[in-house]
Every structure is written in structure tokens, then in C-alpha cells.
């Protein structure tokens, strides 16, 4: 892997709950993302994948650990100043295009808002750039004068992407960008994100709960469970030979459009409470293979193959 543009080391996020409780949303996550690469981050609710994405771009402060973007460490002393120097090089695309677009703002103003904040664009530059961005995301130029409510969910997500591209970022965090969309719209947006990556050499952190969508987007994939990465590998290794019992179970329960598929009974139990974390492996209570050691010692993420790491005592 070439020099990473994003590097995350042992990042932890804790939220105070009430007077004495501490909710550990993310419990020590590490990974790197190279220029032009997509790391897919997959997990169920409460796995910590969104919080991780937000810490990565400085939207949520870390409790401990280190985040380095384009060589600048944005956490710890002097982090805020460093963040300001790299902020324009990265962007965020949200799940819900309705919630992230101001309904009273014309499409051209929503798309050009990052330009206006940065400043230094003439009226003509601004109009030209908006037209260019609309072309890039496959919207008609006439869309510029309209309002978000006049568009479908898929088109609104295109507007959100155009806005994210306005300042020519090198890295984008996409947090569930297609999960609110219908299947026929989902495929269009996935293809658009892939095309833009090819064209501009963008790096993505692609956060999603859908393992199939993640497969079509990512070069590497991390699987999160209860605030930790339990397995991270190249796409080929993760889908062909998943090693962690949770990854295996997760792949097995994805409904497939095949009425003849024989499925094993669903994984029992639910995600553990983040308030009272069990000692040992976070997955032990649901793991069909858990044994004594899993209840005593927390497994660390370790190398189990080429570009393949997993946190499990039994591998």
C-alpha cells in the first residue's frame, strides 16, 4: 500500500451517560486508507461505524487515540489547527439527502456553499463550477435553479455528492449513502461513486450495513461489532474466506434473491449493551464456538494471512 492519506490508531470514543455511566461507542479502532482506495466499514446498529467515520473527519472529538489526515495529526495538542489546514481536502456524504440539504436553498446555492465559505470565486466562476458539478453527477444544468423538494431521493443524493465534490476533495467519508434509496436508485449512485473515484482518484471510507453494497464499492473491508473491528481484509479475502465467526454469520444472514438457497438458522441473541461490556470477546454471548478463553481475555486484532487480520482466539 502506498503512503496512507488517512491513518487511525487505537481510536476510542466514550460518551458519558447520566452521572456515572460511560458508553464506549468505539473501543480502540485502527486502520489506514491509501489515496484512491475504498475501505468499506460494515456493521449493525451500535457497532460504532458511524462514530468512527465522524471522528475521522473531526466531526466528533476522540476520547483517545490518534487520527492523521494527509500527514497532519488532527487529534491531541494543536490538532484543531492542523484540522483547519486539511479540512478542505475531505468531505462527508450523509445517508439522508433530505436532512443534509436546506429546503429553502436553491440547488446551485447548496452546491456552491463550500465555494462561498472558502471565498475567492467570481460570480462567473461560481456558476461555471456549479454547471460542471451538475454534469459530473448526471443532473441537468436546469436543476441549478430548483429546490431540493422538486427532486427524487436518488437525485437529491446526487446533489449531496455534487456539493461534496465542490472543493475537489481527495477523500470522502460516505455514511450509508445509498441505504435510504430504492434498489433501482441504489445501483445508479454506487456506479456514480465508482466513476468519480476513477476520474479523480478519490479515497473513500464507505460506511454501510449492507455487505453486498460494500462488496461492490470497496477494495478492503472492515467488519465492526460492538465498537471494535473484528476482521479487516482485502475484499477478495473477506468475501471468499471470512474467518471471524461474526463475519461468517453476517454473510450467511444476508437475504439473497434465490428462493432455493438453503440457509442455516439465524444467529441467536442481540448486540450486547455498550454500558456493561462483558469481559473477554464482545461476540462471545452469540458465538457458536465460544470457549473458556473467550470469556476471560479480549482478543486483539492480529495478522492471520496476507492483508487479512481478525480478532478471535479460535483462528
Amino acid at each position: 500500500m502506498s503512503t496512507p492519506i488517512v491513518s487511525v490508531r487505537d481510536v476510542v470514543k466514550e460518551f458519558a451517560i447520566g452521572h456515572s455511566g460511560v458508553l464506549r461507542a468505539v473501543g480502540g479502532v485502527s486502520f489506514e486508507i491509501a489515496a484512491g482506495e475504498t475501505l468499506g466499514l460494515v456493521g449493525e446498529s451500535g457497532s460504532g461505524k458511524s462514530t468512527t467515520g465522524r471522528m475521522l473527519v473531526g466531526l466528533v472529538p476522540v476520547t483517545s487515540g490518534e487520527v492523521t489526515l494527509f500527514g497532519e495529526t488532527i487529534t491531541g495538542a494543536g490538532g484543531a489547527a492542523k484540522l483547519a489546514t486539511v479540512r478542505h481536502r475531505m468531505q462527508f456524504v450523509f445517508q439522508d439527502p433530505n436532512g443534509s440539504l436546506d429546503p429553502r436553498m436553491r440547488v446551485q446555492d447548496a452546491i456552491a456553499e463550500p465555494l462561498d465559505i472558502k471565498g475567492g470565486y467570481t460570480r462567473k466562476d461560481r456558476t461555471d463550477r456549479v454547471a460542471e458539478l451538475l454534469d459530473m453527477v448526471g443532473l441537468p444544468r436546469a436543476a441549478a435553479d430548483r429546490y431540493p423538494h422538486e427532486f427524487s431521493g436518488g437525485q437529491r443524493q446526487r446533489i449531496g455528492i455534487a456539493r461534496a465534490l465542490a472543493l475537489r476533495p481527495e477523500f470522502i467519508v460516505c455514511d450509508e449513502p445509498v441505504s435510504a434509496l430504492d434498489v433501482s436508485m441504489q445501483a445508479q449512485i454506487v456506479n456514480l461513486l465508482l466513476d468519480l473515484q476513477e476520474k479523480f482518484g478519490l479515497g473513500y471510507l464507505f460506511i454501510a450495513h449492507d455487505l453486498a453494497v460494500v462488496r461492490s464499492m470497496s477494495s478492503r473491508v472492515g467488519v465492526m461489532y460492538a465498537g471494535t473491528i473484528v476482521e479487516i481484509a482485502s475484499r477478495a479475502a473477506l468475501y471468499a474466506a471470512p474467518q471471524h465467526p461474526y463475519t461468517q454469520a453476517l454473510l450467511d444472514v444476508v437475504p439473497r434473491p434465490d428462493p432455493d438457497r438453503v440457509r442455516r438458522p439465524a444467529l441467536a441473541g442481540e448486540v450486547p449493551s455498550m454500558l456493561n461490556r462483558p469481559v473477554g470477546c464482545p461476540f462471545q454471548a452469540r458465538c457458536p464456538r465460544a470457549e473458556g478463553r473467550c470469556r476471560e481475555e479480549t482478543p486483539r486484532l492480529r495478522e492471520i494471512g496476507r492483508d487479512h487480520q481478525a480478532a478471535c482466539h479460535l483462528i
Partner: protein, 330 residues
């Protein structure tokens, strides 16, 4: 089909009152539900799948909805003409329904015991103590451990998966003959979704119910349904036994939708897509409603609205041109 259907919908049209006049939500939808059937209805936003389900129990608000045509035949009567009293007996008693979001269907200030008992006292005339015993039995049936204690919990004390189990417990408390499940797993995580689908399958065979499962997800439908109906822009575009539908889809929309699902078992460079957007319900599309997005469109498609035609054993599709191209292979 020698046996008579349990529920039969004929040419049902539903319109809603809007500021811009009456809008057609579903048009001439027909379906037959047999005893112990597992019927899947699949479609994207605006396809009319939920409107169809709500219509079966006449759950649309009277002043803003009308049904200019159609009948819903159940147990020898047309539910569209049945008095409200009779509908109240049928709803929850003989035909029950569960929804996507259990939190907004459950009453936050009543215990689980009260909410299950309510149906039992209303439909079966049980007293409070008997209803409570029956409520605990229902929680057992949906595999909620320690039901005798959990029955006194309130909705906010339960996880999303548990709340959906409670909704199912309420729905099956009176042993309905038909269960309508509208996107019952959409708000749930995949591992919990799989648990709920397993549960629905088990309950269907234990109780001998017919189930209508509505979903936007062709994967979820494949896991459950024996027969599948595909809806697009308010109309049924294809109906077939599950295997035939997934192996040999006969409507270009079904074909496109199946192709657009990202595969889990192999890599693709780009996903095949259906061009364009889901149509605005206020825009009248002449001819076939899918024609503006269809890869196989012919001149005639934009003129006359196509009928559903038989393309195989129990297999209907609203695309006569494709049938003709395949040389009437069916």
C-alpha cells in the same frame, strides 16, 4: 386451482384526495390468497404495495380515500361493502397486520400485557386474568424468553427486535387466518431480520396461517414467499411462483430490478441499472408506465396500457411484447 381462495381481491383501484385532485395510488389490482399461502408483494417507493395491504383491512381514512372499483372477497362477503362492525371483528381477529416500525405501533404507556390483552378481551371476550395468561402464552410462541416477567415490561425497555416480536405476539394472539406483514424487518439489523423471518416461517406452519409479506427487498421476499407479486407505479406488473419469478422474470422491470441488486457472491465492476427515476404519481404516463425506463421499449408500448398476460404455469406478466418476442414460448 381447485380449492377456493381464502381471500380474493378483484380489480381494486384506490384513489387519494390531494390538493391537485384525485390521485390513483393503485389501479385494478387483483390477487388470490390460498389457505397456508406465503405471498410476497415486492416493489419500490410509490409502487402501491402498502396501499394494497392497508386496503385489505379498509384502513384508509374515509374522507381522503375512495375505491371506485373492485371487491375484496373474504368468507363469502365483500369487505368493501361490509359494515364497520363486521370489519372491527375481522381486523385483528381474523386478519391481523404488523408494520415496519414497532415503536410507533405500540402504545408507550401501556405494558406489553395490557396491549396483548386488549385484543383478546375485545375479540374473544376473555376476562383480565385469562387474557393475561393468554398474553404470556403468546410471548412464548414468539420465543421471548422469561415471558412471565417480560409481559410486564413497557415498549421502551425492549430492543427493536423484541418489540417486533411483541407486535407479532399481538397479531397472532387471536389466531388469525391471515397475517399481513408490511416491511416487518426493514427497520431491523440483518441478524435480527433473519431471526424474525425464521419466526414468521415457523409460526406460519404452526398456526396454519396465510401470510402476505410486503417488502422492497427481493432478497427478503425470496427467503419467505412461495408466490411473488411485483408492483410498479400502482400496478401489478408480474406475478409468479417464486422460483419462476427469480429464474425467469418475464417483465423488463423485474429483470432490471433483479440485475440491480449488488451480488454478494461475486465481484462486478459496475452494477446494471434501470435508467431514470421512479415516476411521480401525479404525472400520467401514457401506455405502459414502465416504458420511459424500459430497455426493451417498442413504439406500441407508449400508446396502449398493456394487460397482464399468461406467460407460464401460474405466471402472469404485463408485457405482451416480450411474450411475443419469445415466440409465445409459454
Amino acid at each position: 386451482m381447485s380449492e377456493a381462495p381464502l381471500l380474493s381481491v378483484r380489480d381494486l383501484t384506490v384513489e387519494f384526495r390531494t390538493d391537485a385532485g384525485w390521485m390513483t395510488a393503485i389501479e385494478r389490482v387483483s390477487l388470490d390468497l390460498m389457505a397456508r399461502d406465503a405471498l410476497g408483494i415486492v416493489g419500490e417507493s410509490g409502487s402501491g404495495k402498502s396501499v394494497t395491504a392497508l386496503s385489505l383491512l379498509r384502513l384508509h381514512a374515509g374522507a381522503t380515500a375512495r375505491m371506485p372499483s373492485g371487491e375484496i372477497l373474504y368468507a363469502g362477503q365483500d369487505l368493501l361493502k361490509a359494515p364497520e362492525r363486521a370489519m372491527r371483528r375481522i381486523r385483528g381477529g381474523e386478519i391481523a397486520m404488523i408494520f415496519q416500525d414497532p415503536m410507533s405501533s405500540l402504545n408507550p404507556v401501556l405494558s406489553i400485557a395490557d396491549q396483548i390483552s386488549e385484543t383478546l378481551m375485545l375479540h374473544q371476550g376473555l376476562d383480565r386474568a385469562a387474557a393475561r395468561r393468554q398474553a404470556i402464552a403468546s410471548l412464548d410462541m414468539v420465543r421471548i424468553a422469561d415471558a412471565a416477567h417480560r409481559v410486564d415490561a413497557y415498549p421502551h425497555q425492549l430492543s427493536g427486535g423484541m418489540r417486533q416480536r411483541v407486535m407479532i405476539a399481538i397479531a397472532i394472539a387471536c389466531r388469525p387466518r391471515i397475517l399481513i406483514a408490511d416491511e416487518p424487518t426493514t427497520a431491523l439489523d440483518v441478524t435480527i431480520q433473519a431471526q424474525i423471518l425464521d419466526l414468521l416461517r415457523e409460526l406460519q406452519s404452526e398456526l396454519g396461517m396465510s401470510v402476505i409479506l410486503i417488502s422492497h427487498d427481493l432478497g427478503v421476499i425470496a427467503e419467505f414467499a412461495q408466490r411473488v407479486m411485483v408492483m410498479y407505479a400502482g400496478r401489478v406488473v408480474e406475478e409468479a411462483p417464486a422460483r419462476a419469478l427469480y429464474r425467469r422474470p418475464m417483465h423488463p422491470y423485474t429483470t432490471g430490478l433483479l440485475a440491480a441488486i449488488p451480488p454478494l457472491d461475486h465481484d462486478v465492476r459496475r452494477l446494471p441499472t434501470i435508467p431514470g427515476s421512479i415516476p411521480d404519481p401525479f404525472r400520467r404516463i401514457p401506455g405502459c408506465r414502465f416504458s420511459p425506463r424500459c430497455a426493451e421499449v417498442e413504439a406500441g408500448c407508449r400508446e396502449a396500457a398493456p394487460e397482464l398476460v399468461s406467460v407460464g404455469e401460474g405466471h402472469l406478466a404485463r408485457c405482451p411484447p416480450r411474450k411475443a418476442r419469445l415466440g409465445g414460448a409459454a
